[in-house]
Symmetry: C2
Subunit: 225 residues, 2 copies
Amino acid sequence: MLSFTEENYLKALFQLTLEDGYKKEAGTNEMALQLGLKPATVNDMLKKLKEKKLIHYERYGKSSLTKEGKKIAVDIVRKHRLWETFLFEKLGFSWDEVHEVAEQLEHIQSKKLIDKLDQYLNYPAIDPHGDSIPNAKGEIITLSKKTLLEEEVGHQCKVVGVKDNSTTFLKYADRIGLSLNQSIKVKAKQEYDDLIEIEVNGKRSSISPKFAENIIIVCNDCGKR
Amino acid sequence: MLSFTEENYLKALFQLTLEDGYKKEAGTNEMALQLGLKPATVNDMLKKLKEKKLIHYERYGKSSLTKEGKKIAVDIVRKHRLWETFLFEKLGFSWDEVHEVAEQLEHIQSKKLIDKLDQYLNYPAIDPHGDSIPNAKGEIITLSKKTLLEEEVGHQCKVVGVKDNSTTFLKYADRIGLSLNQSIKVKAKQEYDDLIEIEVNGKRSSISPKFAENIIIVCNDCGKR
DNA sequence: TATAAAAGTTAGACTAGTCTAACAAATATT
DNA sequence: AATATTTGTTAGACTAGTCTAACTTTTATA
């Protein structure tokens, strides 16, 4: 059983390396920054985690997760995102409030709890920020996530998140009927002024590229899942 | 902000002193037993908590909670019992599984979370073990809790807990339609063989004193709340 | 009431996790 | 290639929480 602290290091390493996929190793300073700690502190822990075979690490080298370490990290991410979904969907938290509380909840140790929560939420694939939730086996189904701006004309899609959390933005979204999990159909794109014509719940609206860029969606008609 | 550890000491002291109400102070050894720690360890913490004005403590004396300490302890108990209720009612945990997980969840720090959870559960007054849940103001409404054996003939009551958790017992309870929150009416008590005649959901059953003694109820007709 | 038993305390040690300050290695830049 | 900069490491110190072993005070009892 790992401590909260150890779990946080694994999660940080996961996010720095595998999560965004553009590289597979992270440096000590980089991790310290991510965790809000000093490099010296991180250094000690890296040795400890290597000892436990959870990370690959060599003196003066970069670090990466072992298979075992990755498994644990993915599990923490799964818990984090399931809790976020619970807070948002069931308790009515707003998109920007869920993260902080989920940071605490993700460390609760009970396989049964998380499995029941998953079931209770009806096995969600996406959290309120539009990020994929790993399933019970630790598999992460990568969705063809993109902004509404990038969606093709004629395609149907679903809102899975937003990039802007300002009141102005959210109020605007609300006015045209956009909320999490809302289905949208892209009807047309005007070449003249770049406005995008969408249909939400049978209601048509025209939105600016700037607005569309801040809506994160999953396409129902592109890469099926 | 208190640490998990400090919170646990306050909770233990609350349970040893105020909870059952038969005394108002607890000794160092007694607390050590409750917490599963050594008296020496507890001793150190008592000094620390006294320093923080959360408990009353004098060298070689017994300890008790200050007003401030009690407030915090009650809040932890509130969280614990709300989580137990959530686990039982929403996630389908059994009565004896909830405690362990709630021990962890009770330390999550977020006023908003607990208030929303309370609302989501519709402001429950009793947890799955039949214990009172303090409200948001820290008030504990003491219910006229007793066993079904003690209930008066003609009175209507509600199941709030059980004392026995054996499969035999629970199966029997299930057979006559008894479950948590179930309403019961006591129809008669046989003088001859002490059997108690009850009505559950319009269905009549006769139960033994031994069985009745293990059902915890709140009377609807005695002390109103 | 003297003494044995129980309860409580103190001192010193250990672990986990953090820090600062000084140092070493690797990388980038002239 | 020499040197400056960045990155990473080590050593030593500190805090919180725990322990054991030895000691002291209180309480119970013979």
